[in-house]
């Protein structure tokens, strides 16, 4: 639009300089036309100038007009199709760990949960790298996918879930694969942990990676002035302590309640109670038979876990950029009831269990927990201490049958209380990078006191979703 009058004026200039060879009548007509155009444009320019004067009458009005114009142009530029691509984030994690070489490392007294991404390896190792995608699907749904790529090149689907965006009345529903909201730390991804490794509690309850559901979760937030949330989950139940049982319907159910609030501006807290119920069918673990040959034991029955969790955060005036303190603790109780049997681990090496032998009933009740404190003493720097403990608990089975087949020296039968104390120091250059040095005195296995030193890095690239409390 700006170019048109300029062009017209230039053309007018050229025409007025034209030699008088053209017919006078034509020339006159042209001149009249140009005069009209000039008139019209002068009027419009005058009108514009008047408007400009009006707009400049106060600085505020002029600025508002300019603001509106620039906002509009900026908005128009965002219409590219690629703008709809999901947010993509990548977490790179690795460590160097110094610890004893213990052949079959177990937590004494507890059924091995198996499965981890290599956090228990000696020397330099790549922990898993986490690739995340997330986006709103439409006005009603949001999708999240997380893939863990291990150093060995395996890809695991950690999360692939769809959740509702504000269903109303405080309800929200999530479906697919997701980290269960039981307890506090279970739903956190390893890069959010305050220490380099999982708690002993998490390790024996669900394995290093925590409990993941393939199922549905419904949460309801009560309309209270403090937070009060109720949740229920139904899932496949294929993960430890349950097993995949090839059945219709749900294999694991969980319920939880979480509450929390502020105490002044400086303190915030959250507490929760959770309960998980699932079943196992032939859940396997390695044992040694009375002759010291490796046999396999299988547990079938109910497994119930109750967890209580508590978190307290403090920062001066609620401003955590300088100093802050986080206190965190969880306790659990697990009861399992069912039957067990044993068999050869390897057909080539016969054991007392050859041909399969019933071990009778097994009823266990075990408990434990952890407590940790992490203090940020200056920007970027934090120190932390964590204490892990597991109780001996009780196991009821028929001694004569079991010890007739399995060696009483198996770690599962150990009369032992696993313990671990860890201290860590970490430095975060920004919220996207963290380096951590950790020392742990690990007494989780009877007869082994392992002084472990870990140097870890956690780096986050690209879009990084907000963390929960």
């Amino acid at each position: 639009m700006k170019n048109v009058p300029l062009f017209a004026l230039a053309a007018a200039g050229a025409l007025s300089a034209f030699p008088a060879s053209a017919a006078d009548a034509d020339l006159k007509a042209l001149r009249e036309e140009i005069a009209q155009m000039k008139n019209a444009y002068e009027q419009r320019i005058n009108a514009l100038e008047r408007r400009l004067v009006q707009a400049e009458s106060t600085s505020t009005q002029a600025k508002a007009a300019a603001d509106k114009a620039t906002t509009q142009t900026a908005r128009a530029g965002e219409g590219k199709a690629s703008a709809f691509n999901p947010e993509i984030g990548l977490v790179l994690q690795g460590q160097a760990k110094r610890m004893q070489d213990v052949p079959e490392r177990v937590v004494s007294g507890y059924w091995p949960s198996g499965h981890d991404h290599g956090g228990d390896r000696r020397g330099v190792s790549l922990e898993h790298s986490e690739l995340m995608f997330s986006a709103n699907i439409d006005p009603s749904f949001r999708g999240v996918a997380r893939f863990a790529v291990t150093g060995a090149g395996e890809v695991e689907v950690e999360e692939a879930s769809v959740s509702t965006l504000g269903l109303g009345n405080g309800f929200s529903v999530r479906g697919g694969r997701f980290a269960s909201d039981i307890g506090y730390q279970n739903a956190q991804h390893p890069h959010e942990w305050d220490f380099a490794d999982a708690t002993l509690m998490q390790k024996v309850l669900f394995g290093n990676e925590g409990y993941r559901q393939d199922g549905v979760q419904v949460k309801w937030l009560a309309p209270t002035p403090f937070m009060l949330q109720f949740g229920a989950e139904l899932g496949r139940g294929a993960n430890f302590p349950g097993t995949d049982r090839n059945k219709n319907g749900s294999g694991a159910g969980a319920i939880f309640v979480k509450t929390g609030g502020d105490v002044g501006a400086a303190n915030a807290w959250q507490a929760g109670l959770s309960f998980l119920s699932t079943r196992a069918a032939d859940r396997a673990a390695h044992f040694e038979d009375t002759g010291g040959v490796e046999a396999e034991s299988f547990f079938s029955g109910k497994s119930r876990t109750a967890i209580a969790d508590f978190v307290w955060k403090w920062a001066p005036n609620g401003n955590a950029s300088e100093r802050s303190l986080k206190l965190q603790g969880e306790v659990f109780r697990r009861t399992e009831k069912g039957t067990w049997r044993c068999d050869d681990a390897d057909a080539a090496s016969p054991t007392t269990c050859t041909g399969g032998a019933a071990l009778g009933d097994l009823a266990t009740r075990q408990s434990g927990g952890y407590a940790s404190a992490v203090f940020q003493f200056m920007p970027k720097w934090r120190v932390g201490y964590r204490h892990d403990w597991l109780a001996r608990g009780s196991k009821a089975f028929d001694d004569a049958t079991v010890f007739g087949l399995l060696d009483a020296g198996n770690h599962y039968f150990a009369d032992f209380k696993p313990r671990r104390d860890s201290v860590m120091l970490d430095w975060s250059n920004s919220e996207f990078s963290r380096l951590r040095l950790q020392y742990a005195r690990d007494r989780a296995m009877m007869g082994v006191t392992d002084n472990q030193v870990t140097l870890q890095y956690i780096m986050s690239l690209g879009a990084h979703g907000a963390h929960k409390f």
Partner: protein, 296 residues
């Protein structure tokens, strides 16, 4: 049983007639209160003494978001570290992004410092530009007008009250701006050092010049090496003061002040940042007064 009882108590409370407005930062809560008066009950998720970039998705915020009719955010990714979680956990469809109950102030002003290149090597940069838009009082007119329209949309019964509430506010505010501009005339062209890039809109308004920042990159804590560089720079660029927000750490500015004798000016940054900054008007009264002190 006890929980049930508490629930009943809560539900039995007289129905609140006021519109529940949940603001991420104090300035928009104050603006909503100016426009809506007693028709709105506005609360802020953060205080002026908290760093708005670093806030936890606290349980109390989730509870408040659950019952909010209107959410006021700055936008431009200022709240990206916590607001998405609070919105998702709230289970409240009214205030989800894209709904009438979700209001982003940054959409109604001209953004400055929009990065040409997005790279985290540049520190905590925001794709949509510098999010600290509340430091220019002129922005409250455009944002207030949009907010009044939004209040009218969310609460149609009081639409006229919001419109006239805004009109009255705008008239008062324009007179105030003229007053502040007259008072602040000596600040035109004055060179300053700031701790965080939090004042670009304030400088744009009053014609001040930022010659250095204590943070080497936005959001990166000042290092000794960088502070030493700023000290050397001060000798040639001759700033008149070093400016920090009430929520910023005091030490970097104190160090520079001790080395260079530059006076420190602590600005409220938002409502509640200093004792005199009780509402929007006193926020700018105090800001201008504090800026003028070192010139006397």
């Amino acid at each position: 049983m006890r929980i049930l009882f508490m629930l009943l108590v809560v539900l039995a409370l007289p129905a609140q007639a006021a519109l529940n407005v949940f603001s991420t930062v104090p300035e928009w809560a104050a603006l909503a209160q100016e426009i809506g008066g007693e028709r709105v009950r506005a609360v802020s998720a953060t205080t002026a003494l908290q760093d708005p970039h670093h806030v936890d998705a606290r349980p109390s915020l989730i509870a408040r978001a659950r019952n909010a009719d209107l959410l006021l955010a700055t936008g431009a990714e200022l709240e990206i570290g916590w607001l998405p979680v609070v919105l998702r956990e709230s289970g409240n469809p009214r205030i989800q992004a894209g709904q009438p109950g979700y209001f982003e102030a940054a959409g109604f002003v001209r953004m400055l410092e929009v990065p040409g290149r997005l790279d985290r090597a540049e520190g905590d940069v925001h794709a949509d530009g510098n999010p600290h838009i509340q430091t220019d009082p002129r922005h409250f007119l455009a944002i207030g007008e949009a907010l009044a329209a939004r209040l009218a949309l969310v609460d149609p019964a009081n639409a006229d009250a919001y419109r006239s509430g805004y009109a009255a506010f705008a008239e008062r505010w324009r007179a105030r701006i003229r007053q502040w501009e007259a008072q602040a005339a000596p600040l035109k062209g004055v060179a300053v050092v700031s701790q965080h890039k939090a004042w670009v809109y304030l400088y744009d308004w009053l014609g001040m010049r930022e010659v250095a920042t204590l943070e080497p990159k936005p959001g990166v804590e000042p290092s000794v090496a960088h502070l030493a560089k700023v000290r050397d720079q001060v000798a040639s660029s001759k700033p008149r003061m070093v400016i920090r927000a009430a929520y910023n750490s005091a030490r970097p500015a104190e160090w520079l002040s001790a080395e260079t004798r530059l006076p420190i000016v602590v600005l409220p940054f938002t409502v509640g940042g200093t004792p005199p900054a009780k509402d929007l008007a006193t926020l700018f009264d105090d800001t201008v007064a504090r800026l003028l002190l070192p010139l006397k």
